[in-house]
Structure formats: C-alpha cells, structure tokens
C-alpha cells in the first residue's frame, strides 16, 4: 500500500505507462464503443497511408509527361466495357490515370490541410497565450482583431489573403510557392478559434497555485507560458485542430476549385474536381466523380473523428 502511494505520482511522466494509461482511459473506451468512429479512424488512416505511399501505390506518375499517352485519354472506369487496365478509375483528357491522380492529389490536399492547421494552431496558441497571460492592452488589441475577423467567413479571408499575397509576389507562381501561399492564407483564416479557447483556459489556469509557485521561483514569463500553462490547455486545442483539419481541407479544395489554388501541373483534389467539372457535360462523369468521392469521404471521416473527440474529451466546446 505504501509502495503504491509512493509510485503513483511518478507514473504519469513515464512513457512506458503512457500507452497503458491511454488504453485504460475513458477516451479509448468510448472509441471502442462507437463503430462509426472506428470506421472513420480506419478511413482516415487509410487516406493518410495512401497519400504517403502514393509513389508506390500509383500505377503511373501523373506529373511525368513521359508516362502519359494521349491514346489512353478519356477511358471510362475498368468495370465499363471500354475500360482498360491499369486505368482502374478511368483516365482524363491527357491520358492521366484518375486513380493515380487522386493518390497524388490526396497528398497535396492533406499536406496543405495539415500544414495550414499547424500554422493556424501555432499562431492562435501563441496569440492566445500572450493575450491571456499578459492581459491589458495587448489582450484587448488581439481580441478586438479576433472579433473583427470572426464576423467574416474563413473562406472569404482565405480568398482575400490568397489574392493579395499573389499580387504582392506578382507574376506566375510555381507550384511550391502556391502551396505555401495556400498554407499561409488558410492559417491566417483559422487562428481565431485557437486564440479564443487558449486565452479562456489561460485566464483560468494563471490564477492557480502552480503558476504562482513558478513565478515565485523567478521563472521568466515565456517559460511559464510555454512550459507550464500551455500543456494544461492543449486538450481543447486538439479537438479544434481535428475539426479544423476537415475545414482546412475543404477550404483548400474550394480555393483550388475556384481556380485560385493549386495549379493543374500539381493538382490537389479540388483542382482535379475543377478539371473534371469541364467534362461533366460530355458524359465523362468519372473524371469529377472519383476525386469528389475521395474528398467527401476524407472530410466526412475526419469530421466524425473530430465530433467523437469533442464528446470524449468534453471540453465544453460550442
């Protein structure tokens, strides 16, 4: 008994027991209970794996013109009478295999989504921490900006930032720069929610004894903010990040669909849908349908995961 009491405080910091603790937790229990969540998690992992392994899985490299043959253009999916191997889901007007294009597009969509979320989370967490911890005028200024930004839909801000950055950079941008611009504009349009949540939690945390103790031993404010306050406010941030990943992917797809996102030389799912949309009327539905289904499934499964995580952690969001 005495031993148990002695070891108890040390367990949370040990990495070995971290997994055990997780398997024992309510979160894991609620995960096992929900079949829908398991399916969503499975699909999400599948999509991520497909994106990472695109180079291995795809029968064709859609970015390599040498591998494209115009004789193979506009083939219907393979189960159709005119379908042809290896064009599993058919091909587009350049003889590009739709399945390969989706795998590579998935990679771009996920990359922009994840980087966009990482950027907006970093920005939002930093500003929220500063606003909550420093308070006063700094807090007022940051939160006023957040209020103003919240009155506009994120997609509008992303479009504007995208347009302005492009006009500042000028001329034709290569695919890599376009990707960075997209990440930047998505990051700038989604930081508010993180900042608000983190600020709220910081206001609660900063009056607790452990912060007073940290101050008492003379730690500088940045160390207290990032090393002591931050880990205690990360729960809600994780939920927002999951839900925002779906939003970021949709935003990127929308920008690309509108023709202000990824170029056709390096298409994301949104770009593929925009290209395919032009062939809808000539009956080549597969060029737009399969990228569309991939995007919808990806977003749906991430959304379901996010919903579940919100309920499981219950950080009183919304």
């Amino acid at each position: 008994m005495a031993e148990a009491i002695q070891t108890a405080p040390t367990t949370p910091s040990e990495p070995a027991s971290w997994v055990g603790r997780f398997l024992d937790s309510d979160v894991w229990a609620s995960f096992k209970r929900s079949k829908l969540t398991i399916a969503a998690a499975f699909l999400t992992v599948l999509f991520m794996a497909a994106a990472v392994l695109a180079g291995v899985l795809a029968p064709q490299d859609p970015f390599d013109p040498a591998q494209l043959d115009l004789l193979n253009s506009r083939l219907p999916p393979i189960w159709n009478a005119e379908g042809m191997a290896p064009f599993l889901l058919g091909s587009d007007e350049q003889g590009r295999d739709i399945f390969s294009a989706i795998l590579y597009g998935l990679r771009i969509s996920l990359a922009v989504g994840i980087l966009g979320v990482a950027f907006s989370a970093t920005l939002g967490i930093a500003l929220g921490l500063i606003a909550g911890y420093v308070g006063g005028t700094v807090d007022a200024v940051i939160m006023r900006i957040a209020d103003v930004q919240l009155t506009f839909p994120a997609i509008l801000i992303a479009l504007l930032v995208d347009g302005v950055v492009k006009s500042v950079l000028g001329g034709q941008l290569d695919a890599g720069t376009t990707l960075s611009v997209l990440v930047f504009s998505i990051g700038l349009s989604f930081w508010v929610q993180y900042a608000r949540t983190v600020r709220g939690s910081v206001m609660v945390e900063k009056n607790k004894d452990y912060i007073a103790a940290a101050r008492l031993i003379g730690l500088p404010a940045p160390v207290i903010m990032f090393r002591h306050v931050l880990p205690n406010v990360l729960g809600p941030v994780l939920v927002i990040a999951t839900i925002n990943l779906a939003l970021a992917i949709i935003t990127e797809a929308t920008l690309s669909f509108l023709g202000t996102g990824m170029p056709e030389t390096m298409p994301s799912l949104g770009t593929l849908i925009r290209i395919g949309n032009n062939y809808l009327f000539s009956g080549e539905w597969w060029i737009v349908a399969f990228p569309g289904i991939a995007l919808a499934l990806l977003v749906l499964s991430i959304n379901l995961l996010g919903d579940w995580l919100r309920d499981a952690l219950n950080p009183r969001l919304r």
Binding site: L160, F257, L300
Partner: protein, 326 residues
Amino acid sequence: MLAFIVRRALQAIGVLLAVGIIAFAMFRFAGDPVNQIVSIDTPAAEREQVRRSLGLDDPVPVQMARYLVRTAQGDFGVSYQFRQPVSDLLAERMPATLELALCATIFATVFGVLMGVYSGLKRDSVLAKVFQTISLIGISLPTFLIGILLIYLFAVTLGWLPSYGRGDTVQLGWWSTGLLTGSGLKALIMPSITLGLFQMTLIMRIVRAEMLEVLRTDYIKFARARGLTTRAIHFGHALKNTLVPVITIVGLQFGSVIAFAIITETVFQWPGMGLLFVQAVQNVDIPIMAAYLMLVALIFVAINLAVDILYTVVDPRLRTTIRQPT
C-alpha cells in the same frame, strides 16, 4: 439603452474604418497601380505623370484619407480588368446575388424549420434519422460538390433545369430580376438549394435541439395538463419559443450566405458579385477585391448592429451583458 446603441454604432464604424484601412493598404501596396493603367512600353515621364494624376505622390496618410472619403461616397475606383468604375460593376451584379441569397435563405428556413420540428417531435422515427444523416452530409460536403452533383443529376442526366446562368431577366429600373420569368425561376432552384443547404442543416439542428428542450419545460407540461390539443401545444407554444434563436441565426447568417455565394455563383456561372470577386482574385484586380471587401464588411456590420439592437429591444435582460454568438 441609448448609450449602448451609440457604443455599438461606434464599434461598427471602427470595424468599417479598420477594413477600409486594410482595403487601402491592398490598393496601394499590393502591386503598382500605375502599371495596371499604362502599357508596358510607356516612357518613364508619362508614367510619372500618371502617378501624379492618381495622387500617388502625396504622403500616405493623405492618400488614405482621400481613399476613405471616396469609398464613403461610393467611389471605389476603376477596375483593372474591365476599365469601368467598380461601383457600376457591383451595382449591375448586386441584384443577382441578393435574389440568390434571399431564395436560399427562404429555402433554408422553411425546410430547416419543418425538418427540425419533425425530428424534434418524433426523435426516434426513421425519417428523423434520415434528416440527421442529411444534416451530417450537408455539413461535411463542400458546397461546390453539392452543386456539381445537382448539375449532373438535374441538368445533365434529367435535363430538367438549366445548369448555368440566370435565365431571362426583367429590368425594373436599375434592378434586373429573374423572379418574374419562368426560366429565371427555374434557374434559381439549384443554386438556391446549393447555397441554402448548409444553413438548412444549421437551422434544423437548432430547431430540433430547442424543441427537445422546450418540450421538457413546465409550461408545456401545464399546457398538457390543461388539456390543450397536441397540435396547439406543439405549434402554438413549443414552436413559437424555438423561433427566437432561429430568427437570430437567419439574420446573422445572411451575411455568410452572401459571402458563400462566391462558390455557388462560380459553380453555376451565376452573374453576381461573388463571380465578379473570384474573377478579380484570379486576375489580381485589386479595386474590385477592395470594394467587395468593404461591401461585405458593411453588410456584416449592419446585420450585427441590427441584431444587437433588436435584442435589447426584445429582451431587456440582455441590455448590460450582451455577447455576440460566434
């Protein structure tokens, strides 16, 4: 009360000023306005003259003040692409967007309330589960995919509805309306559904949650005890009390509907302000982008202000601790 309204109005003006400064910064510093006006082989002296005639030599604060005053008077400059005053372009496109937004809002409200009431009253029925699934899809599917799906079903496969444009329009003064012709009404159906679907699911979820909440309250139990008909209880008492948040959401979301019309208008090639804005972003037409930003800001601020003021008129409890729903 009056002090509150004045404070709110001042805040609204502050927001508009801030947006105006951003718009000016875009206009002035994102690319060189002179290059957009002269051709590539214009000599330097002539460029200098254009620069002076545009007032680009003045100190930046002077330029900014001039820009803000002009904007307040409705002068947004000349579009780089069309060589026409931006205000004319916007005025020409505005009726299309407003009619689309209005139809989408009506569609979303009517169907959202109906589905919400039904799934609130018959929570476990099959139809209610179907509605829940539709709402999940409505929130998860990107707007443009819904539009493409509708086009494929009703325009390409069935051929019932037009896939793009407004159909025939009638000119009423400066306002061109598609509401008075058959083809105009037909052209409105799919864009309105596409644009309104998200709002519909939002309204449905709110009405459902509110109905479930209200049906548990004491006054509903009392109404039952008084022997009122189920119909009178559900629609006379319960539904009425769910409508306050619905009105708020419909009001506050109207600005978002106009902003989201950007996507719907692109899918259906609807000749509204959103399509103009997307083309402006693609072609880096800063005057149009700045003007659109200002216009949307004005709409948002006006709606928020109106909702805030209405709140205090309707509900005196909120007069001190009012917060914007996020």
